[in-house]
Subunit: 193 residues, 2 copies
DNA sequence: AGTGACTATTCCGATTAGGAACACTACTCT
DNA sequence: AGAGTAGTGTTCCTAATCGGAATAGTCACT
């Protein structure tokens, strides 16, 4: 019963194990602040597609209410949903992370452009990492107070800390690559910007 | 002229800047050993789709030869291809990496299963990381001899080293998470496997 | 001749990406 | 009051991508 649901479906199911009832729109917002760092920010279309599937399988309930003049559907995980999520966790292998790293892709073919351009790209990446670190640190802070063992945000805070470590490591790797690049022109030119 | 080619197209173009002429099959093989670590292993179908597009745009040449009894098409980058790749590198922003990290996704919802199951998953991840490290170290070794500044494998070796650092960092993050998890049951149970 | 492994390409269905479009609510500014 | 604009909530569309099956020929070994 659980084999034909894509991973993103389980991710949404997972989001529903924290809060209460959420609309598709709210799920998108939650996904954008947490899930985006280590999974994807699913498109709206995908979230609603997934919710319909989950609902068809009885893993979530869809409560249609008329709020003001328009219909609003809120979703909540069912007992079957809890069970399916748990079964997925317990019986299917996690699988290896897939990284789409445009900076590394471009570094790979660094020989087709000027070294200065590559340095610039790496510096920009560091700046973006710093921004991501700020955002994630904010998420991590928002979890404080309920992040002790046994409390609801225990696992999210572990993940947030992992993410912070990850971004920090990326910064170091970028600086290392920059240092290696500097060795290149050290002898013949003063390369700086 | 270069705006309607997806990133994977440029990745293939990039692979063609090293060797000489390659068949679609060979491109797939190269992608599987290098590109897969920090970009994707494109499906065969995708590679051939992309090659047709690149060929339509004049960025690669498609040489159809009759080798033995069957037709074999080899692809080579053209001057226009070099220029398009360079323009892409110089004028479009790299963009932030996208990570699809099933281990972190499952850690996030760790509260729906037993702590022991989560520990097990993390240990499996470390084992997979070790395997990936071995593979990548092999790639890195294969580049030796032509990885000095100015030599053809200079940039690939920078990327390989970044990748090694990355996997190593992931191992540390995983161990850190495991250590945090151990704090949980430290008081009441002897949790180990 | 037969089997299996490798090379090479095409085809197919489903999933995913990424927004645009639509519609309604609620707030502010003039 | 009316206009504008920001936010909420959902649907729809197109292209990209995944992942593997299907096809088909070559080569080596038995």
């Amino acid at each position: 019963m659980s084999q034909d649901i894509p991973v993103t479906g389980y991710a949404i199911l997972g989001l529903l194990t924290f809060g209460d009832e959420l609309t598709g729109y709210e799920i998108k917002q939650r996904a954008d602040v947490t899930l985006r760092f280590y999974w994807v920010s699913p498109a709206m279309s995908q979230i609603y597609t997934e919710l319909r599937r989950l609902s068809d399988h009885g893993l979530v309930t869809a409560d249609v209410r008329t709020d003001g003049g328009r219909e609003v559907t809120t979703y909540a995980i069912t007992g079957a949903g809890q069970a399916a999520l748990r079964e997925w966790m317990d019986t299917t292998p996690a699988g290896f992370p897939v990284l789409k790293h445009p900076v590394l892709l471009r570094l790979l073919v660094g020989h087709v452009t000027e070294p200065e351009r590559t340095r610039q790209m790496l510096h920009e990446y560091v700046a973006e990492l710093d921004r991501a670190l700020v955002d994630l640190a904010q998420v991590r802070e928002s979890l404080r107070g309920a992040d002790e063992p046994g409390q609801p945000f225990r696992f999210p805070s572990l993940v947030a800390e992992w993410g912070l470590d990850y971004f920090d490591a990326e910064r170091r790797h970028t600086h290392r690559a920059l240092a290696s690049l500097d060795e290149t022109g050290a002898g013949d030119t003063e390369a700086t910007a």
